[in-house]
Structure formats: structure tokens, C-alpha cells
Symmetry: C2
Subunit: 330 residues, 2 copies
């Protein structure tokens, strides 16, 4: 690989001048700039990022933590982040936390060692106190997941409203016996908590009591959804509708219902969350709450880049619209 010295030698100028051209510093005459550019092209010169980093320059790499990339919601989110990053000349380093605290910390360490300029977290496993300690090494922003304090920029949705819209829709369809199925645990913080609140608000406004037997926690996959449906079938007093925290779980419920001859939506109305491609594939098609994934990715990169340019930037929340998509499963 050609180095800056090679370029300097070939162009008959100093490394300093070459460096100035690379970083388009103003004080370079047009003639010499031309000579440098010509030499650079001739040698196929690319500045060595390790050397630039060592001098405290930016890495033009942004880290993204996701729980698991095979979850289509996160695949889409990662996709939109990567697209936006590429447009701005950034690379994307991906890490899967697999809901493991250690893995999350291992990834945050990349910030400490300046391998990434900043990190976008789409989920958080550790407490914020711990994550915060990495913040001094570079910006951390939360996208999708969030916590209820204004400590870092957050790209978030009004989850409370989303859950409220969904629950309300079920109530309007005449349901009184509504089950609830969440990805998190019940006393959690952030996203899950807000959804719980929205759900509860809708029900209490309609004067409906929540039956604790109809609450399912820690449900994530299609398999989990199937299992939930089997549990419901065994109940004496069954719910007539179920609100789920993800399209995948909703999908599992619908697939298993078909297996057991339970009709959707007449036997059980099902509502999902995310509006993933699967929502259109299921039969019946899934009523769900759409999260504007592309917007979230784009906005995250925008905020990250601003923050890298101006680290003193004001920390605030960016709330994006959330929307109910009514299809055939309710």
C-alpha cells in the first residue's frame, strides 16, 4: 500500500501539504493541490484509517447493537441504519447482544478503544448506570428501546399510544376479555412499561378489569406464540382477543389456532406489533401496530452525525409516529 510519504515523494511536496489536500485544508495553492491529487490517483493511495484514528481522528465507523439480527424487525432497523450510514460515508459494525449483559459490554468496549465513533443501541440489557460509564468515550444513542430519563438522545416511538390504539381497537370491536402478551418481564422499564400503561389505560377507560391469568410475559418467537395459544385452549374461561408485543408471537398464535381449528378472528381476535412482512403473509392477515423502522434508522444516523460534529449538542428525544394497521385478524 502506498503511504502519504510515497505521495509526497512522487509529487515532490511535503507530507504536510499532502495531508492538507486530503483533509481539504484551505491554505493549499491550486497548482500543488493538482499535483498531489494526480500523485494520489497514480498510486491508488488510500489514507490508512488506523493511523488517522491514532491521531484522534474519527473512525467513520458506527457500532450498532441489536438483540438478534434474525428478528426481522431488527434486520429492517439495521438495514435502514446501514443505508443511512453509507450515504454519509460511515461503516457499520454490528454486534448481537443475544440479551446477554456480557456481550453488550464487550461491544460497548469498542467505544473505549476508539474502534467506533459512537454506538446506537436498539436494546439495552445492562442498567443505564453501567452503560453511562462508556458515554465519556463517545456518543451513545438509543433507538427503539429507551429509558425514562433524558440521559442520552433517544429515537423513540410513543409506545404508550401504540398499545393504547391497539387495545382500544379490540374494545371497539366489542371485546371485553382481552389477553396481553409481552416480550419483556412485567415490571420492566422503558418500552415494555409504556406499552403496559397504554394497554391498561385503554382497558380502565372502558371499565374493563384485567385478568392476571391472561397475562403472558417473556414471549418472543413464533414458537412462544404457539405455546401461548395452547395454554389459552386449556383455560376454562378463555379470552376472546389477545394483544401481543410482536408480529412473530401473533403469527405463532394464528398458526397454532389453525392447527386446532380455532377460527381467527371469530374464535380469537389477534393483534400484533411491528408490521413486519409476516403480517401480510399470515392467513388471516394480521392487524398490527406499525413502527416506522426506516425513519428510525435514518433519524438515528442524522442525530449521531450531528453529535459527532458537535458533542455539546443538547440531548433530547425524537418521537416518531406510530400507527394502527387494521387487517383481517381482528
Amino acid at each position: 500500500m502506498a503511504t502519504i510519504s510515497d505521495v509526497a515523494k512522487l509529487s515532490g511536496l511535503s507530507k504536510t501539504t499532502v495531508s492538507r489536500v486530503i483533509n481539504n485544508h484551505p491554505y493549499v495553492s491550486d497548482k500543488k493541490r493538482e499535483r498531489v491529487l494526480k500523485a494520489m490517483k497514480e498510486l491508488g493511495y488510500i489514507p490508512n484509517p488506523s493511523a488517522r484514528r491514532l491521531r484522534g481522528q474519527l473512525t467513520t465507523t458506527i457500532g450498532v447493537i441489536v438483540p438478534r439480527i434474525v428478528n426481522p424487525f431488527f434486520a429492517h432497523l439495521v438495514n435502514s441504519i446501514e443505508q443511512a450510514a453509507y450515504k454519509k460515508g460511515y461503516q457499520m459494525l454490528i454486534g448481537q447482544s443475544y440479551e446477554d449483559k456480557e456481550k453488550e459490554l464487550a461491544f460497548l468496549n469498542l467505544l473505549k478503544t476508539k474502534q467506533v465513533d459512537g454506538i446506537i443501541m436498539t436494546s439495552t440489557e445492562n442498567d443505564w448506570d453501567i452503560i453511562e460509564s462508556y458515554n465519556e468515550y463517545g456518543p451513545i444513542i438509543l433507538c427503539n428501546d429507551y429509558i425514562n430519563q433524558e440521559v442520552a438522545p433517544m429515537i423513540r416511538l410513543d409506545q404508550t399510544k401504540g398499545a393504547y390504539l391497539g387495545a382500544n381497537h379490540l374494545i371497539e370491536r366489542g371485546h371485553q376479555k382481552i389477553a396481553y402478551c409481552t416480550g419483556g418481564l412485567f415490571d420492566e422499564q422503558g418500552k415494555g412499561k409504556d406499552r403496559n400503561q397504554g394497554f391498561q389505560k385503554a382497558l380502565s377507560e372502558a371499565g374493563i378489569k384485567i385478568n392476571p391469568k391472561w397475562i403472558f410475559i417473556d414471549q418472543h418467537t413464533i414458537e412462544d406464540g404457539k405455546h401461548v395459544l395452547r395454554q389459552i385452549l386449556e383455560m376454562e374461561d378463555r379470552p376472546t382477543a389477545i394483544f401481543t408485543g410482536s408480529d412473530e408471537v401473533a403469527g405463532g398464535i394464528i398458526i397454532e389456532a389453525k392447527e386446532h381449528g380455532l377460527l381467527i378472528p371469530n374464535g380469537l381476535a389477534v393483534i400484533g406489533f411491528d408490521d413486519q412482512p409476516i403480517a401480510e403473509i399470515l392467513d388471516p392477515k394480521l392487524t398490527t401496530i406499525r413502527q416506522p423502522v426506516d425513519l428510525m434508522g435514518e433519524r438515528s444516523i442524522e442525530v449521531m452525525v450531528e453529535l459527532l460534529v458537535n458533542p455539546e449538542m443538547e440531548i433530547r428525544n425524537y418521537e416518531l409516529p406510530i400507527e394502527l394497521i387494521v387487517r383481517k385478524s381482528t
Copy 2:
């Protein structure tokens, strides 16, 4: 951040000795090693990767190129690669080529600038002549996609056999009028070509002629599949079965068939490729050809790590098993 000099100062030893401890060089006395380790722990010292890279050390980062991460097949592949890489202490840098030659080259440049130790390509957009020119900067291995020369290690499946199995299955079910739907173009190299051959072999063995009107090329998404079905419905002479290059396209066909009241498999038998989660979700469940994604990811990392340790390693192919999964769509 603490530097190696800080550790040297605190431990009262030289940078050299500290470096020796970090890289566990043999010639360090146990006593001093202890002192260094203690100082390192006390300062929370982590070596600066940029500086190490600059000195020509490995980056412990492996680049992975995928066409698009939202394609569940590639999401799973990336997942298995990341898992395997993490276990061996490597990070994974992802780039989406979006089937764009420029983007692919931009990513290959990371090798040139030593930002990654090696690159795993799960698809290739540029000709091998061009890709090969990056090979001198670090190992490139092909996983999933491949070319028909032994120029780089390839983790591949016997695609010819896969397509043969699928086509044969349709023929055994009594079909004579079989359509073919591929992701690539028709005269392509590598994966697509082998599949074409397998398909053709099965048909010619059964004495069946291929109807060129029933060949669909460049089909990738669910939407593409829907479109294919509409085209079939408009034909006077319709096929009774269709072989597709991906579960997603097959899914689109099945969904659209339902929309038009065409029964699967009686009106049209459909066979997919990949055995993605969607295959189990579709109604009827999809007959498909399973690719051992987890194995492919694992093997790729194994080979990559070996190759990094011993760059002179013999180049060879690693062929993994491929399998027909019969469900309800045929």
C-alpha cells in the same frame, strides 16, 4: 484512557516489558509479569487497537458482505457467522452490497486499509478478476455464493443436487409441466448456473422438455412471487408445478394464489429454496430445499481463522449437505 506508558510507569518497568506481557512473549520473569498485570488491572488498561493495527497486528475484525440483511436467509447466515466469530474473539463488520458493484468494492477496500483481517463474501457482484486484486491484502473467502474455479476457499452447497432433488420430487408427484423461477439471470455463473443444471438434468432424465415461457428470471421478493403468479394465471397453457429459487418468492406465489382462489398444491404445486421460517408459516406449509445455514457460518469462521494463522494454507472447497424437506405445498 490509560496507555502502555502509564502501565510502564506504574509498574516501574519499560514499555517493552509491558508489551511482552500483553502479547505473552516468553522472556518475562513471573515477578515482573505479575507487577505488569496488577498495574494493568489497576488502570483498567486496554491496548489501543488503532496503534496495534498500525504496527501491522491483526484487527480481530472480520468483514462480511451480504446483498441485503433483510433477506432472512442472509440474516440467518450473518447470525451464525457472528456467533462463531464472537466465540473466537472476533468482531464482525457488515456491509450490504445491495447488488451494487461500487458498494461491494467500497467494502473490499476495508481489507486494503487493514480495517478487517479478512472478508467473507456471501455474494459476489464484481467479476473474480477484480475481487482477486484485493486478495493480496488479506484472505477472502466465499460462503454460499461461489465461482467455478478453485481460486479462494469456498463454503458451498451442492446446488446442482439441491435443484435436482426438488425437480425430481415434482416429477415423482406426476408433474410434467414445470415452471422455473430463479433469482439470477439465466446465463449467470456459480450458484444459479448449477441450480439451472440440476433442474435441467432432472427434467431431461424424465424426458420432459422445458417450456421457455415458464422460465422467470431475476425474481427475489414476495412481491416478485405475486407477480409471477399473476403472469401464470394469464397463460393459456399453464404449468402445474413451479420450482422457485427462494422461499420468499414461493411465499408470494402461494399468497397470491389464495387471493385468486387457485388451490395449492392441486392447482399448482410450489417448491421453495432455503427453508426459512416463512416456510412453516405459509398455508399450506412449503416444501423446500434446506440449506444448512448454521453450519455454513461456523465453517466459514473456522476456515477464516485457520487462514489468518497460516496464510499459505491449501485452498479448497468445503461442501455441505443439502436436503429436501417435503411439506404440504407439493
